[in-house]
């Protein structure tokens, strides 16, 4: 490969100029694959790169018709290899997400009830906003309806962030925190004293607003 071609490759991919790995060129160019000893010019390389499809499908997935990226199968084909990214999915879970009581789930009127999720490999992030009134639930407060149950094998509680607890009744001098239980699809709300001390669950509140996010493994 000419120095000019290496320079072009570097500008395009950030590759190490010292190595100039020819296998990379073979992978991206059917034309060059026929003759690995072929010298290619920078212009040829640019032309090869331009032929890349904007989207590629792996595992038999149909490449997306818009944008640029990697399309995974609609039904994930899980890999046991720890270094393999085997799934990507994003979507809406607004219909499932809700405020619920631990003793009696109850129901409420929601002026806002929206949540979305992104699943990358075995990690799921859910974020949403709930604004409710007239809740009939009893017991302690939780957010129910996460789109995936968390990993039951991991004895670690996935922690959640409550970024906007509005009009939620707490014990004086306490702040809110939250976590999910292993193997569950809920987030439990807790509170703890600002000066430290034992935490306690947050009682159900008939009305309030919550913006939240949680990232957990499945």
């Amino acid at each position: 490969m000419t120095d000019k071609a290496v320079s072009a490759l570097t500008s395009l991919t950030g590759a190490n100029t010292a190595t100039g790995d020819l296998l990379y060129i073979v992978d991206i160019s059917e034309a060059a694959a026929a003759d690995r000893s072929k010298k290619i010019t920078a212009e040829e390389l640019q032309n090869y790169v331009k032929k890349f499809p904007a989207t590629i499908g792996v595992g038999g997935a149909t490449p997306a018709a818009s944008g640029a990226g990697i399309s995974f199968p609609a039904t994930a084909s899980a890999s046991s290899d720890a270094n393999t990214l085997d799934d990507y999915e994003e979507g809406d879970c607004s219909s499932s997400i809700a405020i619920a009581g631990t003793t009696s789930a109850g129901s409420a009127t929601y002026s806002s009830k929206s949540a979305r999720y992104v699943k990358i490999g075995a990690m799921v992030t859910v974020y949403g906003y709930l604004s409710w009134s007239g809740h009939t639930g009893t017991g302690f407060m939780e957010i129910s309806g996460l789109p995936f149950a968390s990993n039951a094998q991991v004895a670690l509680h996935p922690t959640a962030a409550i970024g906007y607890p509005h009009n939620i009744s707490l014990t004086a001098g306490n702040v809110v925190t939250a976590f999910g239980a292993p193997g569950a699809s809920t987030i439990s709300l807790y509170q703890y004293p600002t000066g430290g001390g034992a935490n306690s669950a947050v009682p159900m509140d008939a009305s309030g607003d919550i913006m939240f996010s949680i990232t957990y493994s499945i």
Partner: protein, 97 residues
């Protein structure tokens, strides 16, 4: 432009919505995915997902038939009892309730 030319340029977009995945987790939680697929001239164009979960023993009113069937098959009295025990244990949390 002739009508025939215009007609050829019209795209045929179609949208279908269906539950395309029902996943049953070990403790009986059922994860449902609904896919809305858009095709252009019969070819796949775009897809959006919506998900929800159903916990053992939950009311299934309004759920699609095939979801109800899977839940009823999976949610034996033993599964429901075990899930309720899990919830009760989790309610204690890592701290004090």
């Amino acid at each position: 432009m002739a009508w025939s030319d215009t007609k050829e340029k019209l795209m045929s977009l179609a949208e279908t919505t269906e539950v395309d995945r029902i996943e049953i987790v070990g403790n009986g939680i059922v994860q449902v995915r609904e896919a809305t697929t858009i095709t252009k001239d019969g070819e796949f164009f775009a897809r959006k997902f919506k998900r929800w979960v159903l916990t053992p023993g939950q009311d299934l009113t309004g759920q699609p038939e095939k979801v109800v069937a899977q839940c009823q098959a999976a949610w034996t009295p033993e599964v429901i009892a075990a899930y309720q025990a899990q919830v009760a244990a989790a309610a204690a949390g890592p701290g004090q309730r």
